[in-house]
C-alpha cells in the first residue's frame, strides 16, 4: 500500500541564523529526524519522524531549534477531531491495535485539583518544621488488631514484618526491559539514599542490584519473569501484580528487540524472544487462589517479607480490596487510570478504569466500615504529580504513594509518549547501548533524591500548617480537605465537605 494518509504531528523550526551546523541534533536523534548534507552543508529535518522529545532542542548549543504543534488543521468538528481522524488513518493503514505510552491524557476530571487543604489560624497554632520535629516516617505492613502485653508489661504479640519509609513515597514498578539498566540503577541508588523503596517491576532483578535489596520491592507478575527463591528473598517486600492502572485487564508485551543478553539473563528468557505476560495470573482465577499465592510467597520467604497486592482501580475496587485484606495481603496497592505505562492499547488506556482519588476514598471508607482498615497498608499510584497530591492522598486515607511518571520526568523524560518505540533519546525507556549511556546514574540518582527531598520539605510545611507534626495524624483525616467544583455525589464518595462548610 503506497498511500499513507498520516501527517506530521510536530513541525521543526530551525533558525538558520543561529544554526552553526554542529550536527548535535543529527547525532542525538534516535528517530533520525535530522540529517546533514555534506555537499550542500545544510541540515534538513523530517517533521514526520519527530516525537517532540526535546532532546535536540535541549542540547542545541545555540538554541536554534523550536518544535511546534504541526499547524495543519482539519475542518473544525468537535466530534471528529483531528486525533480521531488520524487514529482511523493509522488503523486503516496497519490493521493493528493502537498503542500508546504513559498515562491517560484525556480531559477527565482531576480530583486532586478540586480538593483544598486546611491550615491552622488562631484556635490552634501552626507548627514550623524548621524549628520543631516533623515526622513523615510510615510503616508499611500488616498490623494486628491489637497489641497484647504480659503481666510484666512485655509485648507478647508478634509483629508481622514491616517496611520503614522515611517519607510515604516509593518509586513505582518499572521493569528492567521497559526501562534501561541505568534508569534502574538511578532509582535503586536514590531509594537507598532516601530510605524509601523502588520496585523492580515484572522483569526480575539484575544480580548487580542485589546490594540495594533492603530498598527494593520485588514484583511477581503473571509472566513470572525472573522470579526465583533468591530474588524473592533479596527484597524488602514482594508485590503481586494483578493489574496496572494504564491497562486494567491486560497483560504485557516486551518486544524481543529489547531482550538483549542482560535482560534475557535477568528475565530468564532467551535472547530476542518476546516477553508476554498473560492478562490474568493463570494460578489466580479467584480470590481464594490469591490467598494461596500470598502464602506460597510467605512460605518461601519465611514470613519475613510483607506481601503487597497491586490492582488497577476498577468499578468494584472497594469490594475487591476488602477481599485482598481477607486473603492475607500485608498491603494493597491501587493504581488509578492515569497511571503510566511503557506501552498499552490506546483504547484501554483511555477508557478502562476509574480515577484513583475516588477509588482510594471508596476503599478506605469500605475497609473502615468492615473494621479492617487498620490491618493493612493502603498504597496508591496513578499520577501523583506533586507533594500536594500526596498530602491529599494521605488525608483521603493512603499510607503511601508510588510515583512512576514523576520519577522518570525527574530523570529527563519529556513525556513524548513514545516509550514503546524503544528509541528513548533520554536513555530511559530503551535498551540501545548508545542511548542508555546517555543516562548517567551518578547525576540522575541525585536528581531523584532532590525531587523527593523537595517534596518532603513541602509535605512538612503543609503538615505544620495544619498543626500536625506526624503524618500518621493526617492519614484518613478528611476534615483537612474541602472540595470545590464537585457535585454532591462526588463529595459523598470522597467523604469531604464543600469549601465554606
Amino acid at each position: 500500500m503506497s498511500l499513507n494518509l498520516s501527517t506530521p504531528a510536530f513541525e521543526i523550526i530551525r533558525n538558520e541564523g543561529k544554526c552553526i551546523l554542529c550536527q548535535v541534533c543529527v547525532k542525538q536523534c534516535a528517530n533520525n529526524v535530522h540529517s546533514y548534507d555534506a555537499e550542500d552543508e545544510t541540515i534538513s529535518s523530517d517533521d514526520g519522524k519527530c516525537v517532540n522529545c526535546h532532546r535536540c532542542v535541549s542540547l542545541c548549543p545555540t538554541r536554534a531549534l523550536i518544535i511546534k504543534k504541526y499547524p495543519l488543521e482539519f475542518r473544525e468538528n468537535t466530534n471528529w477531531t483531528g486525533a480521531a481522524i488520524k487514529e482511523i488513518y493509522k488503523q486503516a493503514q496497519t490493521g493493528g491495535i493502537l498503542l500508546s505510552s504513559m498515562g491517560n491524557p484525556k480531559p477527565f476530571p482531576i480530583y486532586w485539583d478540586k480538593m483544598l487543604i486546611n491550615a491552622s489560624q488562631v484556635t490552634n497554632p501552626s507548627i514550623d518544621p524548621l524549628r520543631e520535629p516533623m515526622e513523615t516516617k510510615v510503616m508499611i505492613g500488616r498490623k494486628p488488631d491489637k497489641l497484647e502485653f504480659d503481666a510484666k508489661g512485655a509485648l507478647v504479640t508478634r509483629m508481622p514484618p514491616q517496611i520503614e519509609l522515611s517519607v510515604p513515597i516509593m518509586f513505582s514498578a518499572m521493569s528492567y526491559g521497559s526501562i534501561s539498566r541505568n534508569a534502574h540503577e538511578s532509582l535503586a541508588r536514590a531509594a537507598t539514599e532516601l530510605g524509601i523503596c523502588y520496585n523492580t517491576g515484572e522483569g526480575g532483578l539484575n544480580k548487580d542490584f542485589y546490594k540495594y535489596g533492603r530498598n527494593t520491592i520485588v514484583q511477581v507478575a503473571s509472566g513470572r519473569f525472573g522470579v526465583h527463591k533468591e530474588y524473592l528473598n533479596v527484597g524488602a517486600a514482594i508485590e503481586i501484580k494483578i493489574g496496572q492502572g494504564a491497562k486494567p485487564g491486560i497483560g504485557g508485551h516486551l518486544p524481543g528487540r529489547k531482550v538483549g543478553a542482560d535482560v534475557s539473563a535477568t528475565r530468564m528468557i532467551p535472547i530476542g524472544s518476546d516477553a508476554i505476560s498473560p492478562a490474568p495470573h493463570h494460578d489466580i482465577y479467584s480470590i481464594e487462589d490469591l490467598r494461596q499465592l500470598i502464602f506460597s510467597l510467605k512460605e518461601v520467604t519465611d514470613y519475613k517479607k510483607p506481601v503487597l497486592v497491586k490492582i488497577a482501580a476498577v468499578h468494584n475496587t472497594a469490594a475487591i480490596a476488602s477481599g485482598i485484606v481477607r486473603a492475607g495481603a500485608d498491603a494493597i496497592v491501587v493504581d488509578g487510570f492515569r497511571g503510566g505505562t511503557g506501552a498499552a492499547p490506546t483504547r484501554v488506556r483511555d477508557n478502562v478504569g476509574i480515577p484513583i482519588e475516588l477509588a482510594l476514598a471508596a476503599i478506605d471508607q469500605r475497609l473502615r466500615e468492615e473494621g479492617i482498615r487498620n490491618q493493612v497498608s493502603l498504597i496508591i499510584a496513578g499520577s501523583i504529580r506533586n507533594s500536594a497530591d500526596i498530602v491529599k492522598a494521605v488525608a483521603l486515607g493512603a499510607d503511601a504513594v508510588y510515583i512512576g511518571s514523576a520519577a522518570v520526568i525527574a530523570m529527563g523524560c519529556h513525556m513524548c509518549h513514545s516509550c514503546s518505540t524503544g528509541k528513548c533519546n533520554w536513555g530511559i525507556a530503551t535498551q540501545e547501548p548508545e542511548l542508555v549511556k546517555r543516562l548517567n546514574p551518578d547525576i540522575m540518582h541525585r536528581r531523584l533524591v532532590n525531587l523527593i527531598s523537595a517534596w518532603s520539605h513541602e509535605i512538612k510545611e503543609m503538615l505544620g500548617g495544619m498543626g500536625i507534626n506526624a503524618i500518621d495524624s493526617l492519614r484518613g483525616n478528611r476534615l483537612m480537605l474541602r472540595g470545590v467544583d464537585l457535585n454532591e455525589k462526588e463529595l459523598e464518595i470522597l467523604g469531604i465537605k464543600y469549601a465554606g462548610e
Binding site: N124, M139, K146, F149, M159, R373, G467, A470
Partner: protein, 363 residues
C-alpha cells in the same frame, strides 16, 4: 443555627484538677475557686466538673446523669432504661438558681444496675453493656443525653461560666476525693448543655484544653470499633481512645500514654533494641490513635488522675504537690489560690504525664 454535634466548634479552655491520693474527701468549693480564678479563659459558653467518690452509698451502681429536652423523651428513655437496667433510685439532680445560668434542661439522675439476663444475652460484660446502652440513647433518642455514666462518680456541666455552673449544681454540698473542672471558650455557641465539658464514658472523664488537629483521623479510627462520635468534640474522641485502649485492648496506662503522645521516631532510635521494638510496634499499630496538635488534658478514672500535654507542649499545664494532694491546672495561679505553699511545683514536659493515683493503685 446548628448545635454542637452538628458542627465542629474550636475552643480554648481552662482546666484544673485536684486529687487526695489517700482518698480523703473534700467539698467542691476549692475546685470552684481554682477554676473561677481563670475566669478569662472561659467565655460563659460552657463549664463543668467531674467528681469521684461522691456516691459512696451507691458505689456499686452506675450513676446516669441525663439531660432531657422535654418530658416525652424522658418517658421514652426511662422505658429503655427500665428494660435494660434495675433502677435502684431516681430523681432530679438538685440545683439552685444562679444568675447567668439559664435555659436549663430537665436534669435527672438514676442509680442503675444492668439486668443480668440482658447482659448475658449479649455475651458482653456489664461495663461494655452499659457503654453500648449509653451510646444508643445518645445517638438514637433525640432530646435525651446521658452526660455521666460511671460508678461512684459524676459529671456536672452546663452552659455558663464554670464557677456559676458549680454553684448551680451545689457542688459545695458534695464531697469527693478527686475533682476536675473545665471552663470553655468556644468560638461559637454550643446551643445545648450536652456540648459542655467534661466528657465522660463510664468511669472516664476528660477535661481538655486545645484543638486537636488529628481529630478526624482519631474519630475514624475509634469509629471502626463501635464508637460513635456524636458531639464532634476533641474531648469525646480522646475519651473513647482511652476507653478503647485501656478497657477493651487492656493496654497498661503507661503504654497508652506512649500511644496518644507517642515518642518521636528519632527518640525511639536511641532506645535499647527491645524497647525500640516495642515502641515501633505500638506506634505502627496505633498510629491513628496518636493525638496531634495542641492539647492539655486531665483524665479522671477510678484509679486516679492523669494529666498530659501534647508532644511539643503547645498548651500550658502546671502541676503541684502538697501532702497527699496533687494539683494540675492550666495556670499556676489557679493552684496557688487554693494551695498556699505547695511542696513542689513544676511544668511537665510535652508528652510526659503527671500520674496521681489513689494509694494502692497501679497503672
Amino acid at each position: 443555627m446548628l448545635k454542637e454535634g452538628e458542627l465542629r466548634i474550636p475552643s480554648g479552655c481552662a482546666i484544673s484538677g485536684i486529687i487526695n491520693k489517700k482518698g480523703v474527701r473534700f467539698s467542691g468549693e476549692e475546685i470552684i475557686n481554682s477554676i473561677a480564678l481563670m475566669h478569662d479563659r472561659s467565655n460563659g459558653l460552657g463549664g463543668g466538673f467531674a467528681a469521684y467518690g461522691i456516691y459512696p452509698q451507691y458505689k456499686d451502681f452506675y450513676a446516669l446523669h441525663i439531660f432531657y429536652d422535654n418530658l416525652s423523651v424522658k418517658t421514652q428513655t426511662e422505658d429503655f432504661i427500665a428494660k435494660h437496667f434495675d433502677i435502684e433510685s431516681a430523681g432530679n439532680i438538685p440545683t439552685r438558681p444562679v444568675p447567668g445560668v439559664t435555659n436549663k434542661p430537665l436534669i435527672w439522675r438514676y442509680f442503675v444496675h444492668p439486668r443480668t439476663y440482658v447482659v448475658k444475652e449479649d455475651f458482653v460484660d456489664e461495663a461494655e453493656f452499659t457503654s453500648r446502652c449509653v451510646i444508643k440513647i445518645n445517638t438514637e433518642y433525640e432530646g435525651a443525653y446521658i452526660f455521666s455514666s460511671g460508678k461512684n462518680m459524676g459529671a456536672f456541666k452546663g452552659v455558663g461560666y464554670p464557677e456559676d455552673i458549680g454553684k448551680f449544681f451545689m457542688l459545695d454540698t458534695y464531697e469527693a476525693h478527686m475533682w476536675t473542672a473545665h471552663g470553655r471558650f468556644p468560638t461559637n455557641t454550643p446551643g445545648w448543655w450536652g456540648g459542655a465539658h467534661p466528657f465522660t464514658m463510664l468511669n472516664w472523664s476528660v477535661v481538655h484544653n486545645g484543638e486537636i488537629s488529628s481529630y478526624d483521623a482519631n474519630r475514624r479510627f475509634v469509629e471502626m470499633y463501635g464508637y460513635k462520635c456524636t458531639l464532634q468534640t476533641d474531648t469525646e474522641v480522646i475519651t473513647y481512645l482511652f476507653d478503647m485502649l485501656v478497657r477493651k485492648h487492656n493496654i497498661p496506662m503507661e503504654k497508652v500514654i506512649k500511644i496518644v503522645a507517642a515518642p518521636f521516631w528519632d527518640d525511639i532510635e536511641k532506645e535499647s533494641k527491645e524497647l525500640q521494638h516495642e515502641l515501633k510496634s505500638t506506634r505502627s499499630v496505633y498510629a491513628s490513635a496518636l493525638v496531634n496538635g495542641p492539647f492539655s488534658i486531665i483524665l479522671g478514672y477510678e484509679k486516679g488522675m492523669i494529666a498530659l500535654n501534647d508532644r511539643i507542649k503547645l498548651r500550658s499545664l502546671i502541676a503541684a504537690e502538697k501532702g497527699d494532694r496533687t494539683y494540675v491546672a492550666s495556670e499556676e495561679s489557679a493552684i496557688r489560690i487554693i494551695c498556699d505553699n505547695p511542696d513542689r511545683v513544676w511544668s511537665p514536659k510535652g508528652g510526659e504525664p503527671v500520674i496521681a493515683l489513689l494509694e494502692g493503685e497501679q497503672e
